[in-house]
Every structure is written in C-alpha cells, then in structure tokens.
Symmetry: C3
Subunit: 351 residues, 3 copies
C-alpha cells in the first residue's frame, strides 16, 4: 500500500481550516497527542488531553480557536476538531477494498440484478431475485437471501447473513457476524405447549446505516422491522421483530430492544441498556448505559437507572435494606406520625 502524504495546506483545504505555522509541512500519518511521531497529525477534542499540547511530537494538531495559542507545533484551526479529524482520518485509513468483480466461487441464484461495479468476495452465496447496487462490496462468506435488495456503495464485511426479503439503503456498512432477518421470537402458548408463529414481515433499513459486529435484527411478524436513515448500531445489539428506530439514533453495544418497541429520532442509547417491548421512546432521548427502560418515555431528556458498583461488603448491607425498602418507608411514616401525635399531645397536655 503506497504511503499517503499530504501537505498541511492540502489538509486544511479539505476541512476548511486556518493554518497556523508551516503550510508546506508534510503529514504521513495520524497519532494521538501523546503517541504521535514527527510527520504525524494529531487532534485535540476532549479537553482533558489539552495538557499534552505542550509536549506532543506531532507535526501538526487540529484544534479549536481557543487552543491555538497553547499549541507548540503547527495547527489546523477549525470549529469542530473531532469532525474535521474524522474527514482527514479517512485519507490515512488502511482499510482494504475488495478486488474488482465477482469471485468465481460466488454462487448466485436466478433473476438477480447485480451492478457491474459491485464486488463480491469468495464463497458468498446469493439467492434469487437479489438486487445489488453500484460499487457495493460484499466480502467473503456472506449470505444474501432471496428477494434482498442492497443499495449503492454498501460494504458488507465477511460473514454477514441477510435472510430473505431484507432491504438495505445506500452506503450501509455491515460488520462481520451480523444477522438480519432471522425469525422474530414468536411463539403462541397452547395447552402448555408452544406453536411457532411464522414471521411474515421483512426488514427495511434506510441509507447511511452502520451495524456493528454480531448484531442481530429480526424480521417482522407481519409488518417489517424498520431502521431509518443514519441509524448507527454498535456491536452485539439485539433488535427484535417490528422494532422501529428513527433516523440519526445511535445505540451503543450490547443493547437489547424488545419486540414492537419504537425509538424516536436523534436518540442516544447507552451500552447494555434494555428497552422493553411495545413501548415508545420519543425523539431526542438520551438513555445512559445499562438502563432498564420498562415504560414509554414521552419527554426528551436524559434518563438513567441502575446503581453503580460499590465495595462488596457495603453493597451486601445495602442490598439487604433494599429488600426492606417499603417496610423502611412505612416505618418512617409511622414514626413521623407517632412523633407528631406525641408533640401534639404534649402541647395539649400543656394547655
């Protein structure tokens, strides 16, 4: 892979930055403020790393105007350093592309429409009536079921599984081990036994969606499971049947969303939280990590649950008290009443 090299001037144009220092300085890589070597570019976004500005060996740093004066090296000044960094980092990524074309080992069903510019890796299996858009890359060992439709410029990493009737919009990034369109957990109890409820719906995923490794998204029971545009899902998330996730919502790793839950637009769901079935979370809600969302959330805001770790011995005592909490509260109310009666009686005795 050829080395990427850019002058500060070229980089500044890309992110519309003001340059402080040597605009001909050559940048060959990226490093953190602490670890960057000469020739590398760094950035300062999280203020707790500001102290490293004085000592960094980076050849240049992307930073906001307020930090321009404290920077000991060349600077690219922008309003939003993290966003600017993200755009520049793409230049230095070593992420490999698939070779052009379709590997001869790929198995393709009947009546598929695959763009000439699509690339498909070895041992991938594609069903019937599949549509694959321009420049979409499907890596080795994927499975694309019947009637699936993938937009343009998607990237499926190795071993992604799409069951039948799953649609992805443009620019989807789907990481390895993701399963989309597996049966929802539909079982009807009948006389102490279970009858499987066939899952007739599909999955509809909008544009610019990223889905992390080993995340699972079940197909709908009757209607579809829906993930809107620009939803970002981290690893090992479980999305049950008929969930609806609104545009621009980001969900961190290990979250579970139960059946028919609706999550609004521009929400942030912290890692390992769980969302109950059949509830609605409105737009703009932030749920902190490991929360237990049992009821609908109707107002935007920050919501939390759980109790953080404490030293085990102390925790054991508190947990015992938690089991008595209702009793404790009632004891307190009784005591309050008793005291007030006593004071009142005392006063009446004094009358």
């Amino acid at each position: 892979m050829p080395l990427t090299k850019r002058t500060l001037k070229e980089l500044a144009q890309l992110i519309d930055a003001e340059i402080l220092g040597d605009e001909m300085c050559s940048i060959e890589g990226i490093g953190t403020l602490q670890a960057a070597l000469p020739g590398q570019l760094s950035f300062l976004s999280n203020k707790k790393y500001r102290k490293h500005l004085h000592t960094t060996r980076a050849s240049a740093v992307i930073l906001s105007p307020e930090d321009a004066q404290t920077c000991a090296t060349n600077a690219l000044i922008v309003k939003d350093p993290y966003f600017a960094y993200a755009k520049i980092a793409a230049l230095f990524s070593k992420e490999p592309s698939l070779p052009k074309g379709i590997h001869p080992s790929v198995i393709i069903g009947l009546n598929c429409h695959i763009a000439d510019s699509a690339r498909i890796g070895p041992y991938t299996v594609i069903g019937d009536n599949v549509v694959i858009g321009k420049n979409t890359q499907i890596d080795a060992g994927c499975h694309i079921g019947n009637d699936c439709k993938l937009g343009d410029n998607c990237r499926l990493w190795p071993k992604v599984t799409l069951y039948y009737d799953v649609q992805l919009g443009h620019r989807a990034i789907i990481h390895s081990g993701v399963v989309i369109g597996s049966d929802g957990f539909g079982i009807a109890p009948y006389q102490g036994k279970w009858q499987k409820v066939p899952q007739l719906g599909g999955v509809r995923i909008g544009n610019d969606v990223e889905i992390g490794a080993n995340t699972t998204i079940d197909r709908g029971a009757i209607d579809h499971t829906v993930i809107e545009d620009s939803v970002k899902l981290d690893n090992q998330i479980q999305i049950a049947h008929n969930v609806y996730i609104g545009a621009y919502t980001a969900i961190a790793g290990c979250v579970g969303v139960a059946g028919s839950a609706t999550i609004g637009k521009h929400c942030l769901i912290g890692g390992a939280s769980n969302i109950n079935g059949h509830i609605t979370i409105t737009d703009g809600v932030i749920v902190t990590g490991m929360s237990m969302v049992t009821n609908s959330i109707k107002e935007p805001g920050i919501y939390s649950s759980g109790t953080g770790v404490m030293e085990n011995r102390n925790w054991q005592k508190n947990v015992v008290r938690f089991r008595q909490l209702d009793k404790i509260a009632r004891q307190l109310n009784c005591l309050e009443e008793e005291l007030h009666d006593h004071i009142k009686n005392g006063e009446s005795n004094n009358d």
Copy 2:
C-alpha cells in the same frame, strides 16, 4: 413464488373456526388490523388493538367469541385467536426451502449417515461420523463437527456451527450465527496463572427446540449441557457449560445462564436477565426482564429485580441515597428507639 389463495371456508377448517360472513371470501395474505388491505386476513389477540376492529380494511379477522359482534367484516371465531393465526400464517410464509440434494461444494467426512431427503447448501463442512435425519435442511456455510447427530426435519439457517459431539432432536430450528458445543469457560487458577480445563462433555438438545441468531451454547465440562424438548431460545443468549433447561421453557433475547445452572420446565425468562451458576430454578417460574437471579428459586411465581429508568437528575440523588441505605435504615431504627425512650421517659416523668 405462486400466490397463496384460500377461501375463508378452507381456512376455517384448518383452525376449526366458526365463520361469520362470506365463507367464499378469498384470502391472499395477512395484515395487521391497522395495515391490512382488502383480500387480507387479520387477527385480534391483544385487546388494546380492539379499537381497530371497526375500521380495519381486512377481508376477515380471526377473533374470539366476545369480539364477534363488534367486527365490521367477516370473522373466523375461535377460542384462541393467536394460536389459530399462527397455524394459518404458515400458509402465507415466503420462507424459502433449500433446493433438493447436497450441493457439490459440501465437504463430508468419513462414515456419515445422511438421509437421502436431507438438503445441504453450498460451502457447508461436515465432519466424520455425522448422522443427519430425514428432510433436515442445512443451509450454506454451516459447520457440523465430528460425531454430531441431527434428527429429522431440522432446519439450520446459514452459518450455524456445531462443534463435535453435539446432538439435536427432531424439528430443531437453528438460526444463523448460533454456536453449539464451544468450550465451557473452564480455567483452573494455579500460582497466579490459568490452566485450561478441557471440556469433555457434549451438548444434548431435545425435539422441537428453536435457537435464535448468534446464541451460544457451550459443551459440558464432564457431563453434557442439556436442553430439553420444546425449549425456545431467542437471539444472543449465552448458555454456559452443564446448564440444564427443562422442557417448554422459553428464554428471551440476551439472557446469560452461568455454568451448571438448572432451569425447570415451563419457565419464562425475560430478556437480558442473568442466571447465576450452580443454582436451581424450579418449574413454572417467570423471571421478568433484566433480572439478576443470584440464588435458587424454589417456588413457582413471578420474580423481578432492577429499578427502571427515571429522569437522570432524580436518579442521581436516589443513587447516592442507595449507597447510604444501610446507614439510613440504622438511623431510622435509632430514631425510633430514641422517640420511644423519650415518650416512655415522659410518661414515667408524668407518673
């Protein structure tokens, strides 16, 4: 795929329903009460959707006798609409079958017994001494290790992995990404280091078991890990070594069951709950979602733990108090004693 079409009369016979309305009405699909189009069948099971009975465009609705009079369209009257729906929905499923036979790319080890009617998809790898029953379908990219035994009419979706010495009963449905028979987490500490404990047992899975996408079931340490008949496991469940799960128990997504835990028959375990190792849950227990089951449960009933989300500012205050809970309880007891002493002293002073 040819369009499925049935008259109401045909459908009624299938589910033993009474018909209210036009028995020759033709049904070509399934829809929810809200979204169904003319020509589609719907059902009413969850009473909160009853309001849609008046406005549904469905050509017929499966419902219970009590709702028969409020239905504005044709009705199929049964005792248990959800169960009846499940049976009819199977007619309208577009779930594809594998093509007949064994794909030429399948690799098969020595001394296997594979039924003539079994179907195996591309790039699946099968070890030695494997037995595969009648009409069992193993989709693309699966791995069946040595000495595995699969019953009749099983369906393995793409990319299921069975390690060696794993047995599935009849009619198993195993979704993509499932791993069965991986090593249990056995490590013996020795002088500050770890010694791997070889996992010698296998996995034994009964009849009519369904296992959701990316669920993992470890092999036993010495004896087997056992999943009994008609157990239903959702996605991303982790079953550790030597767990025993009794018949008809259903477990929702993201649950973890630690080593040597025993779960009884007919239990329901809510999503994201975790079951401690070496404990026993008796038959007929319901555990609500995100519960932390640290001790054995000896009586049937409903069990819960955790505290649901609240507005973050309020939560922060309560969490601080939780850390003081034992102190608070002791403070309360002291106060109670103090008050009672005071009252008693007052009374004795008044004597």
Copy 3:
C-alpha cells in the same frame, strides 16, 4: 479414535500425586463423582460434593490430603485437585485436530508466510501479507484479513473473523463466531448528523489468550486495542476500541467493556457486568456478576452492584420506594431534627 488407557501410576507421575490404593488400576475415562462408572477417574475440588466420596463408583479420585481418609476407592492425592484434574483431562479429550496441510479450497493472498506445519480447513480466506506460525490450526470458513500475524500453536475454530492488521500471540484459542478488528463505534456528531470516524488502529493480542464464541473485539481508533498475555475471555463479550486488558485477567460471558477502558492484571470480571468507557480498574479487582462499573476502581478488592430478584409483588413496592429514596432520606433527617428539637425544648421547658 483409539481408547485412552492409563494406569493410576502413570497418571500420578503426570500430576506429581501420591497414590492411595492400587497403582496398577486402569483408567479409561473421566466422570463426575456422582456419575462416574468403574474404570473412570473423578476428582473432588468443590467441598459441597464431598458427600459423594462415599458412594462414587469411580475407580479413583483426585483429592487433597484432608479428604484422603474418607475416600472409599483409590485416590490420587495432590495439593490442588482441580489443577491436577485439568492436566489429566487433556489426555481424555476427544477434541479433533485438523488434517495436516492446507485444504485446496483455501484462498491465500499475496506475500503470506505460512508455516509448513500450519493446518487450514476448507473455505477459509486469507488476505495479503499474512504470517501464520508453526502448528497453528485455522478451521473451516475463517477469514484472516490483510497484514494479520498469528503466532505458533494457535487454534481458530470454524468461522472466526480477523479484520486486517490483527495480531495474535502464541497458543491463542479463538472460538467460532469471534470477530476481531471490526470498526470501533466512532461517530462524530455534526449539525445533527453523524460523520464516521475511521478506525486506524489495529488489535494486539498476547500469548495464551482464549476468546469465547461470538465475542467481538474492535480495532483501535488511532492506537491499538490491546489484550495482554493469558487473558481469558468467555462467550459474547464486547470489547470496544482502545480497551486495554492486563495479563491474567479473566472475564465471564456477556460482559461489555466500553471504549478506552483500562482493566488491570489478575482481575476477575463477573458475567454480564459492564465497564464504562475511559475508566481504569486497577490490578487484582474482582467485580461480581451483572455489575455496573461507572467509575474507576483504584483499590484491589471485591466490588458489586445491582439488586437480586425478589418476588414480583414485593419488588414492585420496593421499586416505588427507590424512586422516593432521596425524599425518604430527607424526611428521615427532618424527623430526627424535629425529635431532637422537641426533646431539647422539652428539657429546656423542664429547666
């Protein structure tokens, strides 16, 4: 597979044990104390199984000196029976090895260095510039991306995915469905939208690491994600970008570790716990299962959080009180003040 047979004498030499009984006794397998048959070896480590020592049908038992007298059969006496058992169990494992060599269906990129003694199963795909050490076994359907480096004597089970620039030390055991090197969850908010932050770092994994089924480890954002020597990870663990895990730490199933968290050496993290991002856990910390670790832990010790299940009706009452906990605590403080004022006033009235 030929039957493994050893005399007690041979086994005793392997684990440096004292023999009590017939040293020529022949052992052909392993069983638990309860289930062992004649000809099998068992062991006693967990004292709650001591009662089975009197009735076991095992031909010999590995135990510690204190149990030697109560054992009704032959005994192998060692200080640490579980560790000794682990060493002997390896003799009786039926774990299959891959056939020698590289299966002809394996696809290998340019400029790879693969040891002659390495074994690679069918349909595995290997990128460019990959190094694979001596005796390493890579099972069917794995994916090894560009620039990966695997040490000697590793074992990758079927369908492991390594993205590009991932390094494994010697003797790694990686179970099926594991994904290493997927993109960290890096998204920069910009005017209500998300900009993907390219993940430029790799993953560096030390020697003697075991990683359980369907666990995911993301690549670093700039620097690498690092797993040190002898770390043991169970199934379905999520390790985010730039996490650092110190040597000898063991993490049970379903744990999530958020971005840039640092976990020290010799820690034990209980199942389904979650570790917040950007925090540090010092060496020698034990976190019990399902804990929520939101802040750094600076002292070794045992830490816990959460509240275990209770009967649902009781739980509902306590949960309501938890929401009022701060109010309850303040009510208690007021009451205390009121009582003390009252008593003081009473005393002053009595003055």
